[in-house]
């Protein structure tokens, strides 16, 4: 895999499209094109630089030569990881993941605690008929702000009469961010552990709550024979079938922010919007940069665990300002990372951020 990456780097013609599209380049010392250049010629790379990348993939999507600069970043990071030259916060996240299978080092035994907030019992995957697994992101399992998301989605699926199961404390971090941090060995371990569980319980479908998990399980876990979906795909299907009916009006001006891993990387643009459009009286607006060119919230690629020290305007702030200029009251999105990064700035400016399932819960 690394050889492949190396040969891809060689075909780079240094056109700079990656830099121009990068949400970090220009505002931070990061310059993705330069990084590829240095990689091309095996120049030394200042170890602080690669950590700015948010793994949004804007560069890879734009690259006319298929160099995949975002993979180059992973490659560079993996060298740094092997040398141990990584920022402390990232190191903590990795060590935590190594021990507790989640970057925050929260007890694995509590991974299934959210299910206690439901007023019905979610079966373990082994007790289900269809072997559909609801897969949580570590954020959902442990962050008090985001824990409402699995609760909501499980409730919605339950109401629609859609059978599913969970892994509970057997579930471990999907490894999407870990891979992007460059800890490929740890990623493999996490992947193997998850895959072993999937195999043992005969999982046929995975409903991932986070676009990040969906991405890696869908695209990086190899051929598992499992259909991996984001929950918005499932819910929009259920709404279309009539199994779920958003009957209460939601009289708000809202705007939808495309998460990088859901949108530009996996081309799931319409399902979340379909869900929002199915709600009465909602006025759905669009960012001028939406869908394929949605502006990254800066939560991915390890940035969730680590903020580089620079004084620059965060994308989340830019995003919130644009939402404000469009006159919306609520920013909605379908990724826990985006919820957390956007919310911080939104609250400051008097807007609300609601995860899609939160809106849906209000109208069903």
């Amino acid at each position: 895999m690394q050889d492949e990456a190396a040969s891809r780097v060689l075909v780079c013609i240094q056109c700079g499209k990656c830099t121009g599209g990068c949400p970090e380049s220009g505002r931070t010392p990061f310059n993705i094109r330069m990084l590829v250049r240095k990689k091309q010629f095996s120049y030394t790379i200042d170890e602080s630089i690669p950590w700015y990348c948010t793994a949004c993939n804007a560069c890879t999507i734009r690259c006319p030569r298929d160099v995949k600069p975002s993979e180059v970043v992973i490659d560079i990071r993996s060298t740094l990881v092997e040398n141990g030259d990584i920022p402390l916060a990232i190191q903590k996240a990795l060590e935590n993941t190594f021990v507790q299978k989640n970057p925050w080092g929260k007890p694995r035994s509590k991974r299934g605690e959210w299910a206690g907030k439901l007023n019905f019992k979610v079966p373990h995957i082994s007790e289900t008929e269809h072997k559909r697994l609801l897969f949580l992101c570590c954020v959902h399992a442990y962050d008090p702000r985001c824990m409402v998301i699995p609760v909501n989605v499980a409730t919605l699926l339950h109401r629609a009469g859609y059978e599913f199961g969970i892994l509970g404390e057997e579930e471990c971090c999907c490894g999407n961010e870990i891979r992007r941090i460059g800890e490929l060995g740890l990623f493999e371990e996490l992947m193997e552990e998850n895959k072993t569980n999937f195999k043992e319980y005969g999982v046929k479908e995975i409903i991932a709550l986070s676009p990040h998990c969906m991405n890696t399980m869908k695209n990086e876990y190899g051929d598992t024979g499992i259909k991996v979906m984001h929950y918005t795909e499932v819910l929009s299907g259920l709404i279309k079938e009539g199994a779920l009916k958003p009957h209460k009006p939601f009289e708000k001006e809202i705007i939808y922010h495309d998460p990088c891993f859901l949108g530009k990387q996996n081309k799931i643009f319409e399902e979340p919007r379909d869900i929002l459009k199915s709600i009465n009286n909602t006025n759905l607006k669009e960012f001028s940069r939406s869908k394929e060119i949605s502006l990254c919230c800066e939560g991915g690629g390890g940035r969730m665990f680590f903020e580089v020290e620079t004084h620059y305007k965060r994308n989340s702030e830019t995003r919130v300002e644009e939402a404000q200029s469009k006159g919306v009251e609520i920013i909605t999105t379908a990724c826990p990372f985006c919820v957390m990064t956007l919310e911080e700035k939104a609250v400051e400016k008097g807007l609300a951020v609601k995860e899609l399932s939160e809106i849906l819960m209000e109208v069903i």
């Binding site: 916060a89 925050w104 962050d143 008090p144 702000r145 665990f305 680590f306 903020e307 580089v308 020290e309 004084h311 957390m340 911080e344 609250v347 400051e348």
Partner: protein, 312 residues
């Protein structure tokens, strides 16, 4: 008569308060308390111990494992073996106690924070106080223990008369381990990680103009000011005062969070504080899930009230 030998901890002429826990332990165990202390002018209540053994040596030589061991051998030689040798569970205590135990092949139980006099059982912390182990010595010999600060000082009783004082000769300096100097930690600006009491400010305080008012409160309370990321980002406070994943991880005794809602990254930087008091207008603020004490109120109003109380 079985006695407890208490190794006092003295530093730069100060008889450390935690020695009271060692004395309290001796009293709780019902033993005569013999206190070993270097010669010097220490502020010590003579009536709470039975005997004071003054070691003739400089303070800087006293808390040295090799020297203490030698001193104790001498005392045992003159007074007989004690039932129990008590150290404080401190930087020096653990060093001295363990060395002594090894040197003399004595049983040792450290970080003792409870004692069952009937069963003669010692309680010691395991897994950061998540559980406590109940120990007994398994060998007939003097037992070495270190006691946790704050655990036994309530058991100290006045004997009603001043303790008898005896003197032992201390060895002169030894080559294997020698004291060079005290080092005060360099203070470059403020180090919030070293503060025992942090007054931490979040965006809930409203605007930059509130900062000086909080500084006044911090002065009154002798607290150090820190802040969450939004406050730092807005440059209301300098970066060195930032608590959180992108700032510093702190573990003060008291973390008083004013107007901080408790973003994930912030929580990670302060959750291990000994006592967290959170003030926030929003009763749903996540910080309340981590706090020991929570107050749903406007941080600025609480601030003004606290100032009034402290000044008045």
């Amino acid at each position: 008569m079985s006695y407890a030998l208490i190794i006092s901890e003295v530093r730069r002429g100060v008889f450390e308060e935690r020695n009271l826990d060692s004395i309290g332990m001796a009293h709780l165990a019902g033993k005569d308390a013999f206190l070993l202390i270097p010669e010097g002018n220490y502020n010590l209540n003579n009536s709470i111990v039975n005997k004071i053994i003054k070691a003739k040596l400089e303070e800087s030589l006293f808390l040295n494992p090799l020297i203490i061991t030698e001193l104790i051998s001498k005392i045992i030689g003159t007074l007989g073996a004690p039932e129990i040798v008590i150290f404080t569970h401190s930087s020096s205590g653990i060093e001295l106690a363990s060395y002594l135990a090894g040197k003399m092949s004595l049983p040792i139980i450290t970080d003792v924070s409870g004692y069952d006099r009937n069963e003669q059982i010692f309680f010691k912390s395991y897994y950061s106080d998540k559980v406590f182990g109940q120990f007994k010595k398994a060998k007939e010999s003097p037992l070495v223990i270190t006691v946790r600060s704050g655990s036994f000082k309530d058991h100290v009783t006045e004997k009603g008369k001043n303790a008898e004082e005896i003197t032992v000769d201390g060895p002169s300096g030894i080559e294997e381990r020698s004291f060079v100097e005290y080092v005060e930690e360099e203070k470059t600006g403020v180090d919030i990680t070293k503060a025992e009491f942090l007054l931490s400010l979040g965006r809930g305080i409203g605007n930059k103009d509130e900062i000086p008012k909080f500084e006044e409160l911090a002065n009154l309370m002798k607290a150090t000011i820190s802040g969450s990321r939004p406050v730092i980002d807005k440059q209301w406070l300098p970066k060195e005062r930032q608590v959180g994943t992108s700032g510093k991880t702190v573990k003060p005794k008291v973390y008083l969070a004013m107007g901080i809602s408790g973003a994930f990254q912030h929580i990670a930087g302060m959750k291990d504080s000994e006592c967290i008091i959170a003030v926030n207008k929003d009763p749903e603020a996540p910080i309340f899930q981590y706090a020991h004490y929570g107050i749903v109120a406007d941080a600025n109003k609480i601030r003004d009230k606290l100032k009034d109380l402290l000044q008045g």
